[in-house]
Subunit: 324 residues, 2 copies
């Protein structure tokens, strides 16, 4: 039984999020999972408890370039992006599986350096590699699945009007680094380095959960795009106060070098920093490392859940899109 | 710290199993996992219990061809290959994550048909899709991770001399089907169909565990190759009795069409059937669906653990190799 519209459309026509939504419909609603698809991680029942699980797929020249990043850096980032998903649930990652698709001509040292990078990032949080798969492929693909535990997983759909909005970790550095690399620069180094190897605030996720965060997400596609997921899932309007954001100096440097672009654009829409964004009840005391940047409210009549910047919609695309 | 030999070698030089062994060394021995890499699935601690986890990566034109198999068939097989890994631990699969790398030009209906096939195969065992990832890629890649539970996971390294060796499920049909397709035939249909959509004996794994199987593996690379993993891990010599095997009629048909090849070769070395092979203590009563096909003994002086056929080494490659 095919959808007639879908028969003639391509993957690129529908885009990543459209395709995910379509597949979610096809695969039905899981009945036995504690938390199914659509959050940073799913929660799967285990005898006597549960485990969080999340998977990512990284593809050469889409998610990393071998001329921009060393194999070790690619390994660290591949692990970090996945560990961050458990962080975003307020959990602690325990184990990963790594499946590699590799061209036969690839130098073995690239693969061992990749493994070293994965191991180094896992060591930051005490997670271990439990297994995986290796097979031949035309381009390098790295499929990572991470498992973790959480006393109280923090979802996307449980934020409430009246909550305050806060962030932890870098915002804008990786995006500015990417912009610099895209134009042939190798500096400012601190921005380029964060694009190559992000530093997710691993302590901040469990601390936010313990402090009573009502909703949380990691910032992989850009703050506005990712807060948009919380806004829609929690049925709230999130309004950000730009005066609360500090623009990192390397971000300002890149914006200046690009002919005076607004540096705040990197902070609000840059991806790949793997910061955390969360909602907290207004009575919460924010843990160390968290900065209040806005508030959530009920949508007005006929208003859709969305993210506003200083009370207004933000111009331009809110974050990264695949297949574009 | 690089291995000097490795610096100049390529992935193809080292091969799949060599690379896995090298990476296992680099990644170190997991200390907190209940069972680490090297079995059909790893066992990861969960609060109050544990979960089994296993990952596979399927790549277009390596693991499937769009002109040989429909998207639905590819989806069923991708799920089956992973569900089989939990079966081989004597466990029950509960949840999968599916990450897809897709060319932008791919028709959406191919992706929805793939999802339907995955859902259909999961429904056979009551497993559900918990999440995943979608991204652009030059060729179709399907990364699957499966989670499951087992009261008593059956490993590869716990078989013993004196055990009997038994198999459950199809052997040789998928390999014969692959040989037929490779030569441009579309028949015999029952062999070609099993290559497209294998039928792992899902009940047989938990039944073998309950009956006291001492070691178990699923047959993905060929019976001799996969029993070889048990032999080496359990430090035994496995001797198969070919008179115990029934050659399926379509396998004989393909062997005949290929100029009188030995049909037993498909049974012993054909991959992709996802049968189970297990060792049982000699006092065990084999569950329904299991057939005794040999026995395990201590290696003789200076003899390596290995698999023999009617008391002798078997000629030719024991199974499928990637990167070759």
């Amino acid at each position: 039984m095919r959808d007639d519209d879908a028969v003639t459309a391509t993957v690129a026509d529908l885009g990543e999020f459209g395709l995910i939504e379509l597949l979610r419909q096809r695969l039905g609603s899981p009945e036995r999972l504690i938390l199914g698809p659509g959050d940073d991680a799913a929660e799967v029942a285990a005898p006597g408890g549960s485990l969080l699980v999340s998977s990512d797929l990284l593809v050469e020249n889409r998610h990393f370039r071998r001329d921009w990043s060393s194999a070790r850096e690619v390994g660290r980032k591949a692990a970090a992006a996945n560990l961050s998903d458990i962080n975003a649930m307020g959990g602690s990652p325990t184990a990963l599986t790594i499946s590699l698709g590799l061209p036969g001509t690839l130098d073995i040292s690239w693969v061992t350096d990749l493994a070293d990078g994965i191991a180094a990032e896992c060591a930051e949080v005490g997670a271990e590699v439990a297994g995986g798969d290796i097979t031949a492929a035309d381009q390098i693909v790295i499929a990572v699945t991470v498992l973790g535990t959480a006393d109280r997983p923090v979802r996307r759909d449980t934020g409430a009007a009246g909550d305050i909005v806060a962030v932890a970790g870098d915002l804008g550095l990786a995006g500015a680094g990417f912009a610099a690399l895209s134009r042939g620069f190798r500096s400012p180094r601190s921005a380029v380095d964060v694009h190559r190897v992000p530093h997710p605030p691993y302590a901040a996720g469990p601390q936010a959960a313990a402090a009573g965060a009502t909703a949380m997400i990691d910032v992989s596609d850009g703050l506005l795009a990712d807060l948009g997921h919380i806004a829609r899932a929690s049925r709230v309007v999130i309004d950000l106060d730009t005066s609360a954001f500090e623009v990192p100096e390397p971000v300002a440097t890149v914006a200046e070098a690009l002919g005076g672009a607004d540096p705040l654009r990197f902070v609000l829409t840059g991806g790949d920093d793997y910061a955390l964004a969360a909602l907290f009840s207004p009575r919460s005391e924010l843990p160390d490392g968290w900065t209040r940047v806005g508030a959530a409210r009920h949508p007005d009549m006929d208003e859709e859940p969305r993210v506003l910047v200083d009370g207004s919609p933000y111009d331009g695309p809110p974050g990264h899109q695949h297949f574009s």
